[in-house]
């Protein structure tokens, strides 16, 4: 092919167009690093602002009293909503995942597609749906309706997470159970599900973290209440944190803003805690799963 394109004995510094290409590569690398820095910075700024503004509003009274001074009933209300939603979503989600993994079949692909679609479903539409289904029919807002809406949102998170961890259970375990004459339902209930418990718990916690912060459905379904005292009646509206923050943000009063920061701080703190906890649980259960 003729003379070499370069002098092999020349020093090993860039020849030809390499210097320019190196510069381009460096710019690209800086851009990528900058992008990551922006993301971390935004997270830091938001968390920091919420912390700084929220901490000053915090006090024991704030956490225990009712409106207009505190968010106690709202905290209890959110806990109730999330609890009921979990009671609905967790069994359904786990059972859907069991169906996908243990029974599969031709329906598996469409079901998985449905779950993926559910994952990206706008929560405002879930709110509109439940409003039409329950609130309009009963002519009142209720915690149970809100919980059903939240359960719909949690369902895909729990189902997908459970499916992932059920897949990790080695087939050898199922075969061993069958070889021992253990029936399917017994194997699932006593062997497979317990070994997947860590992953199921992780998925549920992530679902809870998501549901606790959802505001859009609650605006339509659980937004009018007397926030001065705790209300646990599931057949009526209960105070809750996200709508409290939303309402306070739409008013224009500085005291309202201060309380919104406080409520936001509590909510964000709990959600971040749940996320970190889920991660730790996931790491631990992964370690136990992997041989």
């Amino acid at each position: 092919m003729g003379e070499p394109a370069f002098d092999p004995a020349a020093p090993l510094t860039p020849t030809g167009n390499l210097r320019r290409r190196r510069a381009v590569s460096r710019v690209a690398e800086s851009g990528a690093t900058l992008g990551a820095a922006i993301a971390v910075a935004v997270l830091g700024i938001v968390v920091y602002s919420v912390f700084v503004h929220g901490v000053s509003a915090l006090s024991l009274d704030f956490l225990l009293e009712g409106e207009p001074d505190g968010i106690g009933p709202a905290l209890v209300g959110t806990a109730e909503l999330v609890l009921i939603a979990t009671l609905i979503a967790m069994p359904i989600g786990v059972l859907v995942a069991v169906y996908l993994v243990e029974f599969g079949g031709r329906l598996a692909a469409p079901i998985r597609l449905t779950l993926d679609v559910m994952n990206g479903y706008p929560s405002i539409i879930v709110g509109v749906f439940i409003f039409a289904l329950i609130v309009e029919a009963t002519h009142k807002q209720s915690a149970i309706a809100a919980s059903i809406a939240l359960a719909m949102i949690m369902l895909s998170i729990i189902a997908r997470g459970t499916e992932e961890v059920l897949r990790l259970v080695p087939d050898a375990m199922r075969e061993a159970a069958a070889a021992l004459g253990v029936s399917r339902w017994r194997a699932v209930l006593t062997v497979i599900l317990p070994s997947a418990m860590g992953g199921i718990a992780t998925a549920t916690i992530l679902g809870v973290a998501r549901a606790a912060g959802e505001t859009a459905p609650l605006i339509l379904i659980d937004s009018v209440w007397d926030g001065s005292h705790v209300s646990l009646d599931p057949l009526g509206p209960v105070p809750n944190i996200p709508v409290t923050i939303y309402k306070l943000s739409e008013e224009a009063s500085p005291e309202g803003f201060a309380r919104a920061w406080g409520a936001g701080f509590v909510l964000l703190f709990l959600i971040m805690l749940a996320n970190v906890g889920a991660r730790v649980l996931l790491a631990r259960s992964r370690r136990r799963m992997a041989p």
């Binding site: 092919m1 370069f6 030809g16 167009n17």
Partner: protein, 289 residues
């Protein structure tokens, strides 16, 4: 530079000056222009020593084979010749690798420039998920060698003995080729930018015997144009293609655990016919490894 004196049990043999058949029937000394001069090179991955105290000269325009059992550092060594080990974060090299007199690991060396001059073909064929033409043309385009690109691609594919088989389907995907064809494509890719050196890391071990034979034929034709270093597990292959052979085996190390090192390096005929080190003799006669 770690010297041989620390490792008395390791013997470094140079079986005299390298010679070739002379014009009048005798033998004359070859001009030993070396491309690589390796002095006391040891390689560490973290605290684990993978290669110990290698001293070696790799001559120009010849084929040098690196043979030896697994785990004796052959792949580590060859990848150290074009800075491909840089991507392993725990990699550390002691000693000196001189390329045409320049220290390959000096601070001001651009490793991209190094790889432009010292090409590598890997054990498992790794064509890009692009067309055959684009596979070969990709690197020249990067280098700005856009004029005469078609000729360059054809030349490279001819040089890799692949042209006749693919000349009518250059736009087809490279992944549709057979294993042997893919490997020859990887060789074409490497020679398209006219490197100085070709490093072949077990290029035929993932291929069937027929494809292997075609690769070996290829190496014969490429011999004069490039300096070639080839790692192979197959002694017969080394005997067939290589001018010089270096045997890497386990040498005792002062840490207690045996570490891979260069045992003997000489003309291929000598290594296989009359090796000086008993460990070489054991290996080539099939007593172990």
């Amino acid at each position: 530079m770690r010297g041989a004196s620390a490792l008395p049990s390791r013997v470094r043999i140079q079986s005299g000056p390298l010679t070739e058949a002379g014009p009048s029937g005798g033998r004359r000394e070859l001009p030993v222009e070396s491309v690589f001069d390796v002095h006391g090179v040891s390689v560490f991955y973290g605290t684990k020593r993978a290669l110990d105290g290698v001293n070696m000269r790799i001559p120009r325009s010849r084929v040098t084979a690196l043979i030896g059992p697994s785990g004796c550092g052959k792949s580590t060594f060859i990848r150290s010749l074009n800075r491909m080990n840089d991507s392993v974060s725990s990699f550390r090299l002691e000693g000196q690798v001189l390329y045409h007199g320049h220290d390959l690991y000096a601070g001001n060396v651009d490793e991209v420039e190094v790889r432009r001059r010292i090409g590598m073909v890997f054990q498992k064929p790794n064509p890009f998920p692009k067309s055959i033409y684009d596979n070969v043309a990709w690197a020249p385009r990067n280098l700005g060698l856009r004029r005469g690109l078609d000729e360059r691609v054809e030349g490279a594919l001819r040089g890799a003995a692949l042209w006749d088989e693919v000349k009518d389907r250059l736009k087809d995907g490279a992944l549709g080729l057979s294993g042997g064809q893919q490997q020859r494509l990887c060789i074409a890719r490497a020679i398209a930018i006219e490197p100085d050196v070709l490093l072949l890391d077990e290029p035929a071990s993932a291929l069937d015997p027929i494809a292997t034979a075609s690769i070996e034929e290829l190496i014969h034709t490429l011999k004069g144009r490039f300096t070639i270093v080839i790692v192979t597990h197959n002694m017969q292959q080394a005997a067939r293609v290589a001018d010089e052979t270096a045997f890497f085996g386990l040498g005792a190390s002062d840490g207690g655990e045996p570490v891979g090192t260069l045992i003997e390096h000489a003309e291929t005929a000598t290594i296989f016919g009359n090796p000086a080190d008993p460990r070489t003799r054991d290996y080539v006669s099939g007593r172990f490894g």
